[in-house]
């Protein structure tokens, strides 16, 4: 077990003009750990995720990532080629809407193979075998490999997006509301799948969601955000079962019981 965190986030601040996007966020993420970020709409959780993934320029703070070759390195101050290389090898980003993360005019196999080809795979047969393997792992039948994502259901699109992201064996996955917009039974299957993939591959993940059930299932640790600040953090069960901050108490008590 390494004694170094995979991701070390220090003082991330993002302002939209005079309004706060997210402010002074600090946390560590350890290898194999899943961090959940919850909060209501507009609390800055997606902003934070986009800052961490390098999609949005931050106003202050550092994000250190344990790179394979050079150890801890501030990804926000990396050169762009380096960061883009990272984001198609060691990182993955699962969007809320599968359409944002997929190429809708390219077949399922092409979608899964794209990252492989981006890092230099040039053997059609091997790329295809790998794509079939990954489709099966996310429970898409291999006969669908040449179908376009437009022919897939919402749940299948989301699973395809996950396959496409995980095919290069990333070490860190960012997920923005991965189960949003799916009906509950599909959500449950997707969560099952995510949980087994995370455990199997030893992935570290940061999951942004407003669904407490999702973090209860997936996350080891939890951060609760409100108005751009982290108001409470800790082990998932601890935060959900014994909330300290009044907002967390409100959040937990707002969940409908069936």
């Amino acid at each position: 077990m390494s004694l170094q965190p995979l991701l070390d986030v220090r003082g991330i601040t993002k302002m939209y003009g005079r309004r706060i996007g997210c402010a002074d966020i600090n946390f560590d993420l350890w290898p194999g750990e899943v961090m959940g970020i919850v909060g209501e709409s507009g609390s800055g959780k997606s902003t934070l995720l986009n800052c961490l993934a390098g999609y949005v320029d931050v106003d202050d703070g550092q994000v250190f990532f344990d790179t394979r070759n050079e150890g801890m390195k501030d990804t926000l101050r990396m050169s762009e080629p380096e960061r883009r290389m990272l984001s198609r090898t060691d990182w993955a980003f699962v969007h809320q809407h599968a359409r944002d993360g997929l190429r809708m005019s390219v077949s399922a196999g092409g979608n899964v193979g794209e990252r492989l080809m981006a890092v230099g795979a040039r053997h059609y047969g091997n790329i295809r075998d790998e794509a079939i393997d990954w489709l099966e792992r996310v429970e898409i039948h291999h006969s669908r490999i040449d179908d376009r994502p437009t022919a897939f259901s919402g749940g299948m699109q989301q699973r395809l997006q996950i396959a496409r992201n995980l095919v290069t064996g990333p070490r860190l996955v960012f997920m923005d509301e991965p189960t949003g917009g799916l009906d509950v039974s599909v959500q449950a299957r997707l969560l099952d799948l995510l949980r087994s993939l995370v455990r199997e591959m030893g992935l570290s993940a940061i999951i942004v969601t407003h669904d407490l059930a999702v973090v209860r299932l997936l996350a080891d640790r939890l951060m609760v955000m409100k108005d751009g600040y982290v108001v409470e953090s800790g082990l998932t069960d601890q935060v959900l079962d014994d909330p300290q901050h009044s907002y967390t108490q409100l959040l937990v008590s707002s969940v409908l019981q069936v």
Partner: protein, 280 residues
């Protein structure tokens, strides 16, 4: 004043285009933006090629214009007449005699030499365009050499058709750096791009110029298990008997009759001439 300036364009414009051409030659395969002018012909008729030719021509040049290999099609004739009228240059149909050759969709069969310039008309200079609609994004991809997407296109071809079905505008990698659209020439012509003549590409509507200096390394993209193949119709030319030239399929009656003939009219005519000469 009732004369056109030499080759239609004013001198300042030609200087601007020449600068773009020189930059293109210095960075083979890189698309240089230039301030494309309105030309007295519609976009899609070779406005880019015409501007590049105009900036390249000197009064001593001999010009040849081909369209799909032929000297006698509308596009070729109108552009040839345009330069006859505005530049008073010699024109020819014989590939060997030309010093500047403007072409649409073909490379002449006859090998070109170091004293010649081949000017291509290009409709869409960006090889990544159909996969990535954003121009800032494609520029970034060129800058950072992120060309995985190009192979996604070839992958799609194989998965759908069992082979790389792209048969024209087949993407190439130039000197191991830039991926380039060779304009819609048949992939049969791709291997010919490593040649002794200078090759210039002009896209008028898209306002881009790019270039290949002589003897530049040009590699067609492919997969290890699906190598590039310079394909052509599996026939010999009906008129001259050549079996190594690119062929057009021509329908000759309404009974399903068809023949295959060379698309390069000069090449075909000169071979027929030779045959006649040796027969008599």
């Amino acid at each position: 004043m009732n004369e056109y300036n030499f080759a239609y364009l004013d001198e300042q414009t030609k200087r601007m285009i020449r600068r773009a051409i020189l930059k293109g030659l210095a960075i083979p395969g890189y698309q240089v933006p230039f301030a494309s002018r309105e030309m007295p012909m519609p976009y899609g008729w070779g406005t880019g090629g015409v501007q590049v030719s105009a900036a390249t021509l000197t009064p001593n040049d001999t010009m040849k214009v081909i369209d799909q290999g032929a000297d006698d099609t509308t596009n070729a004739i109108s552009i040839r007449k345009f330069f006859q009228k505005t530049a008073h240059v010699e024109v020819t149909e014989v590939t060997k005699e030309a010093s500047v050759i403007q072409t649409r969709h073909r490379i002449p069969e006859t090998d070109l030499n170091e004293d010649q310039i081949l000017v291509y008309q290009v409709p869409i200079p960006e090889p990544l365009r159909f996969l990535e609609p954003s121009e800032p994004e494609t520029r970034k991809m060129h800058a950072l050499e992120e060309y995985g997407l190009m192979h996604v296109k070839l992958y799609e071809d194989i998965s759908r058709h069992g082979a790389i079905a792209t048969s024209y505008a087949y993407p190439v990698k130039v000197e191991g750096r830039y991926v380039m659209d060779p304009s819609p020439i048949p992939k049969f012509d791709n291997p010919k791009m490593e040649m002794s003549a200078i090759q210039l590409f002009g896209a008028g509507r898209e306002q881009r110029i790019y270039a290949l200096p002589p003897y530049t390394k040009v590699v067609s993209l492919d997969f290890d298990d699906f190598p590039f193949e310079a394909s052509k119709a599996d026939h010999a030319c009906e008129l001259c008997g050549a079996d190594n030239s690119y062929l057009d399929e021509v329908i000759v009656d309404d009974q399903g009759g068809r023949i295959f003939v060379c698309s390069d009219t000069d090449f075909c005519a000169s071979r027929q001439q030779e045959k006649k000469g040796s027969a008599s």
